[in-house]
């Protein structure tokens, strides 16, 4: 039932946002390759979708559980991906080399793989969690995997040298999602969702910048 709802919802959302399943090789040729432009288009669509889902999920969680608990004041804390030095403004984003930026994007995506899996499973244990939050968590986790695959393809195309060491930040927030105290547990969820919204926005922005820079020559 949950999976069905997730599939249905994701289809609706995808068709709404324009992300549908596109054939890898349009004409069915054997050695076809997607153009870089096509790859970037898909990546941008996916990242936008993920950010949209994260944003909605955070808003719903905020409405449902955070009101009156004073979470907002406390949420000035760091996310587990803060150790990754990502560009913080437009200038920095313009100056960083695209390969580095791609690697950073990959690093952030990989770092979120684990937390998203646990988020999808732990959010179901929240008392009376709305169905919308549940299926969004599942959907985000799935789409994140797809985006990771796409990004690895792009990196394979774009990268001209040796592949650097993988950038990755481990996540150790699982115990906080399983706290016995409900307030503490909900606060942990709140922070995680807040970080997710922020990082998905980052990824979306970086990809758009890269797309405009590499594909459209800064003239989107």
């Amino acid at each position: 039932g949950l999976l069905l709802a997730a599939l249905l919802g994701s289809h609706m959302l995808l068709t709404k946002e324009g992300v549908t399943s596109m054939p890898i090789c349009p004409n069915g040729s054997v050695n076809c390759q997607l153009s870089l432009e096509e790859l970037f288009d898909r990546a941008v669509k996916l990242s936008h979708y993920i950010h949209y889902l994260s944003s909605e999920m955070f808003n719903e969680f905020d409405e449902r559980y955070a009101q009156g608990r004073g979470f907002i004041a406390k949420a000035v804390n760091s996310c587990h991906t803060a150790s990754l030095t990502t560009p913080e403004d437009k200038e920095q984003a313009q100056q960083i080399h695209h390969e580095d930026l791609l690697n950073l994007i990959l690093g952030v995506l990989r770092s979120w793989n684990d937390p998203l899996i646990h988020l999808a499973s732990e959010v179901q244990r929240i008392k009376e969690a709305p169905e919308t939050i549940l299926w969004k968590a599942v959907e985000i986790e799935e789409q994140n995997k797809r985006l990771l695959e796409g990004m690895e393809k792009i990196v394979g195309r774009v990268h001209s040298g040796e592949v650097e060491n993988e950038i990755y930040t481990p996540w150790d927030g699982l115990p906080s999602l399983q706290l016995a105290d409900e307030d503490s547990r909900l606060f942990a969820f709140y922070n995680l969702l807040h970080c997710l919204r922020r990082d998905s926005h980052k990824i979306d922005n970086y990809l758009k910048v890269l797309k405009c820079r590499l594909i459209h020559d800064n003239n989107c």
Binding site: H48, H51, Y52, S55, I72, A73, A75, V76, N77, S78, T86, E88, D89, K90, E91, A93, Q94, R198, H201, K202, D204, N205, K208, V209, L210, K211, C212, R213, N218, N219, C220
Partner: protein, 588 residues
């Protein structure tokens, strides 16, 4: 005036590169030293509060953070404070407070006009806000356009879209329009400010339609008039149509009176005798048995189809004990006539109630019950105990007796030999007869009421039990019993070893489905010399028997309202049959 503290009203970033915070000063007037408000800020990874770098650029009561101070995804906290105290504090990150500037350079072009020149399509174009760096993809905007006629109050909205141009269709060329656009970051919810209003006037480009007539409003009046006419025509046509089903669907017919179980044709065409016989078969019918009264006041009857199969099966049912037990077909009725209403509660199973809607039992069931009733009417069974048989009006009592299976009152015992299954019941009856030496086996018809009901009186005890059919050796039968039991007849026939009679009786009885007809009875009785004719006498004491007036095949007998004097006890009541001699003695 309410006291208003200094408050941070909002913080806003128009392009995700800089941001500003705005506050209100409140209405403190009681400070001698004009207070100096400061905006302090702190990034999440810093310890110290720093003061606002620019109080001027964004206007009064504002703080402007330029690009060097702005880190997009870093959490900030700002606080409004004087030297002594903190008035307000806000925490946010810059990506959350993006509110773009309005679009610029709105213009429109005509796409085409309709043939009549009344309507036209236009295309509206604009440019993104200059501050937002859309070209490098740093920010992605979507736009919402609103338009209205000049003298309207409510704006029409279009769906937010990413492109910077949109067509507007079917604008009236005779009117002027206003258009405004606002933008927001694509994944945000809040829009920025509206752009300047764009005025659209068709007359300016020379296609204004001065002589165009006003658009005709929807002709509600005509619609209503034609609708009513159409409806009337439809109704009339339905009423006049020959299609009965359609008519019935819309105008359902009023149900006509109908009596369940009575074939109206029979009543129209049947002879009086037949009708009477049909109606007389059941004990719970209240017709008036006046010969000259053709029509019954109250019919509770079901008409069986002359279906042999049904009859045969009914005979089985009649003869089986379970069947006897379960019947309560003789309802307790009072003498009131006119019971045309359905389903009186005091009659448990008025299958014969004069209403079609009452009962859903099948015809065969009705027939079964009818036959049972006939059986009751025709042949009182032996009783097990000393309970007197009340009048026929209390046949529910009989029913109770019957339910114990040993107290059935039958006018005619079921014709057991002709059918195999009833044989046990016959034997039971026989055994009952044997065992119940002290109870009445038969009831006498003491009277027949003017309504036609047969009133029974308890039989006399002495009339019991010589149901020893083995003992039925003499041809002389007591005539204490008013009814002739088929079983007795059979046995007597057998005893007298009139083999040929038996089959005849049997077959006749079989043909008649268990009942003796006049013919069979006369045959039987004639064998023993009993005659069935009896002269009616007007005033009688309780008679032991009643002669048969009419026997209507196949339903049964109509008994004469005669009462014969109580016979002397000299008569043997072996089988309840009256020999001719006995009869002659009795009759005057």
């Amino acid at each position: 005036d309410l006291l208003q503290w200094p408050q941070i009203s909002k913080c806003r970033s128009p392009e995700m590169e800089t941001f500003s915070c705005f506050w209100t000063a409140g209405n403190f007037y009681n400070l001698t030293v004009p207070r100096i408000l400061q905006l302090l800020y702190k990034k999440s990874n810093e310890e110290d509060w720093k003061e606002c770098p620019d109080y001027m650029t964004s206007g009064q009561n504002s703080c402007y953070f330029n690009a060097s101070y702005t880190s997009v995804w870093t959490p900030y906290c700002v606080q409004l404070a004087s030297k002594s105290e903190v008035y307000d504090k806000k925490c946010f990150s810059v990506d959350e407070i993006v509110l773009p500037d309005p679009p610029v350079n709105l213009n429109w072009t005509l796409l085409n006009t309709s043939q009549t020149g009344i309507h036209g399509d236009i295309q509206v174009r604009w440019d993104p806000p200059p501050t937002a760096d859309v070209r490098k993809g740093w920010i992605t905007l979507e736009y919402e356009l609103q338009y209205k006629e000049v003298n309207e109050t409510k704006w029409k909205e279009l769906k937010p879209r990413l492109s910077t141009m949109v067509p507007l269709y079917s604008l009236k060329t005779a009117r002027d329009y206003e258009i405004r656009i606002r933008s927001r970051q694509r994944t945000s919810e809040k829009f920025g400010e509206f752009s300047e209003i764009l005025y659209v006037s068709f007359s300016q480009i020379g296609i204004g339609c001065d002589h165009c007539t006003e658009e005709v409003e929807f002709p509600w009046f005509l619609v209503v008039v034609f609708g009513v006419c159409g409806l009337a025509v439809t109704v009339i046509s339905i009423m006049l149509s020959k299609q009965p089903r359609l008519k019935m669907l819309i105008f359902p017919p009023v149900p006509v009176p109908k009596i369940k179980g009575i074939d109206p044709d029979l009543l129209k065409k049947g002879k009086l005798d037949e009708v009477n016989s049909i109606l007389a078969c059941h004990d719970n019918y209240k017709t008036q048995l006046y010969i000259d009264d053709l029509w019954v006041e109250f019919i509770e009857l079901d008409i069986e189809d002359p279906d042999e199969k049904n009859r045969a099966s009914d005979t089985d049912r009649l003869l089986s004990e379970d069947h006897l037990k379960s019947h309560s077909s003789l309802g307790a009725k009072d003498d009131d006539s006119g019971r045309a209403s359905c389903c009186e509660p005091d009659i448990p199973e008025t299958d014969f109630s004069a209403s079609d809607t009452c009962d859903a039992t099948s015809d065969s069931d009705q027939f079964k019950k009818a036959t049972e009733k006939e059986e009751d009417l025709l042949c009182l069974d032996r009783q097990d105990n000393d309970e007197a048989l009340p009048s026929l009006a209390n046949t529910d009592l009989q029913r109770q007796h019957r339910s114990t299976q040993s107290e059935n009152s039958h006018l005619w015992a079921p014709f057991g030999d002709s059918v195999e299954s009833p044989r046990p019941s016959v034997h039971t009856q026989i055994s009952n007869q044997n065992s119940l030496a002290s109870s009445d086996f038969y009831a006498q018809v003491s009277d027949i009421t003017p309504a036609g009901r047969v009133v029974l009186s308890p039989g006399q005890k002495s009339k019991l039990g010589r149901a020893q059919h083995e003992g039925c050796t003499e041809p002389s039968f007591t005539m204490d019993n008013t009814y002739f039991c088929e079983a007795d007849v059979k046995k007597c026939i057998a005893v007298t070893s009139h083999e040929e009679n038996e089959p005849r009786v049997q077959e006749q009885g079989y043909n008649e489905d268990g009942y003796f007809t006049t013919e069979s009875l006369t045959t039987t009785v004639a064998n023993f010399g009993a005659s069935t004719a009896a002269a009616p006498s007007s005033e009688m004491p309780v008679a032991d028997y009643t002669s048969i007036h009419i026997v209507q095949s196949p339903q049964g007998l109509v008994l004469n309202a005669t009462a014969l004097p109580v016979p002397d006890k000299e008569f043997n009541t072996s089988c309840g049959y009256v020999s001719t001699d006995q009869l002659n003695k009795i009759m005057p």
